[in-house]
Amino acid sequence: MRMRLIIVWLGFATLVPAFGSMGGCKAKPAETIKEVNRLDEKSAQAPKPVEDSRFKEFFDRVRAYMKIHDAADARVPSLKETSDPKQLAAREKALADEIRVERAGAQQGDVFSPSAAREIGVVVGEDFKARPLKTQKAILVEVPMKVPPAINTDYPTSLPLATVPPTLLMKLPTLPEALEYRFLGRHLILRDIKANLIVDFIPDVVPATPARTASRGAHR
């Protein structure tokens, strides 16, 4: 009886995909998800402010930056919904200009404290090394490689804003909504989203090998 049930079940399991594949599908099962496709809960724990002493100084500096950002934002016509793209461009620029004035003379490393830069460098490096070379290249294939980051300059939005892998993102210290991490070349930049401004960067966090292999400026 049990054997008959198994046979019936196997028959059903075979027939149903075949039915679903009408319209030219092959009967062979589609790609299946393996263990790699499970969210690694441990790696998803991003360091939180205050709780993680390794990043205390970094979070203090981020808060200080946000004060500048918020004050600047209050002084210029704020970005809000508009049908006029001229206003979008003008307001983004106005905010960036205000911040540039407030942060005149800002240097690389002003926000990423040395300890945070070190820790983040280790996290990014280990993440890349744990990925197959093909995946490393895939991450970097759309990263603009030939534009060196410079503090207080605009991110070149005519180039792609390359995706930061979500599983890496979740290992990095959590940022306020106004800021984000991005790759620019082999560097990790801290970008002010609303002002489209490069706030700071950690140089050469991405291991050299994949950067060399992903040699194009920006894949389209």
């Binding site: 030219g24 970005l79 919904e81 995706t163 979500p166 894949h219």
Partner: protein, 291 residues
């Protein structure tokens, strides 16, 4: 009834008619039911080049026939520079007839889009990188796949948990499954999104990024479409013999028209020349089905 795995989920696919080789321009394969919700899908659009305008004209022809009221954009809405004149050349002019007819556009951000596009009113993003909206019996979940952080994932889970709509449709730029030679499946993104999609019974997912059309065989009960060829085209880029592909076309610029009734989602994929590339219907699972 269970919808777990690709097997039983595939049973929900009622009909797929495949390529219409004789494809008649302006042929509509949708049922055009009285109480349905109709929309268009376009992706990787913002070039300002001839193919985008051609697709725009074709969309208007189909709007007149199908009367869809909104369009979803799966990202790369404005390529290259984003000066005010670029918004005109790469969005407002190609879709002027649709905009004039009152068609609403709901955009997702692609990797070529400045996130400040969220403040551009015609994209209906309400100042948000990720958002949700409801049309008829459908809840749409619009994600920013360029920056899938914990905050966005938490938001998505809350939004999905609170959704009681008959249909749940997500769209964003990067495809979780793709047979593209250039990019392929976004496995890292899939790692974080798919568990939520399965848990909260996402029905259909639209993406772009790959400059072609692909209907993927159902994965864990979810239907995936890539519609990233509405202006750009990566000819010959669909991996031949891919086990993911249910139907693919990398020879023409394409857009999709979708019609959703209570229990069935009908789709028609059309080329810029007006040929029907793909069409079919997806049956909604039983309300209490378990995946």
């Amino acid at each position: 009834m269970t919808r777990h795995g690709t097997g039983l989920a595939s049973a929900a696919l009622l009909l797929v008619s495949g390529l219409s080789l004789t494809g008649t321009a302006q042929k509509v394969t949708l049922p055009l039911a009285a109480d349905s919700t109709r929309f268009a899908v376009i992706g990787d659009t913002g070039t300002g080049d001839k193919p985008q305008y051609e697709v725009g004209r074709r969309l208007e022809e189909y709007r007149q026939r199908v009367n869809f009221t909104f369009t979803i954009m799966v990202g790369d809405n404005i390529y290259g520079s984003e000066r005010p004149q670029d918004f005109q050349k790469k969005f407002e002019l190609p879709y002027k007839p649709l905009l004039d007819a009152g068609v609403t556009f709901y955009a997702a951000l692609g990797n070529h889009d400045d996130p400040n596009q969220r403040f551009y009113k015609p994209f209906s993003m309400n100042g948000e990188r990720f958002y949700t909206f409801t049309k008829g019996n459908i809840d749409f979940f619009v994600l920013d796949s360029n920056y899938m952080d914990r905050k966005q994932l938490d938001w998505l889970e809350r939004a999905l948990k609170g959704s009681n709509a008959s249909w749940k449709i997500a769209y964003f730029h990067h495809p979780l499954y793709s047979s593209g030679e250039s990019h392929g499946s976004e496995v890292d993104l899939r790692t974080v999104l798919e568990p939520l999609f399965v848990k909260y019974r996402m029905d259909v997912v639209f993406a772009g990024h790959e400059h072609f059309y692909e209907r993927v065989k159902p994965q864990k009960g979810i239907y995936y479409f890539t519609c990233g060829g509405s202006a750009k085209l990566r000819r010959g880029n669909i991996r031949k013999g891919s086990e993911l592909t249910a139907k693919g076309d990398d020879a023409a610029n394409t857009f999709m028209i979708v019609e959703v009734t209570k229990d069935v989602l009908n789709f028609q994929t059309v080329s810029g020349a007006g040929l029907t590339i793909d069409s079919g219907a997806i049956q909604r699972p039983q309300p209490h089905a378990v995946r």
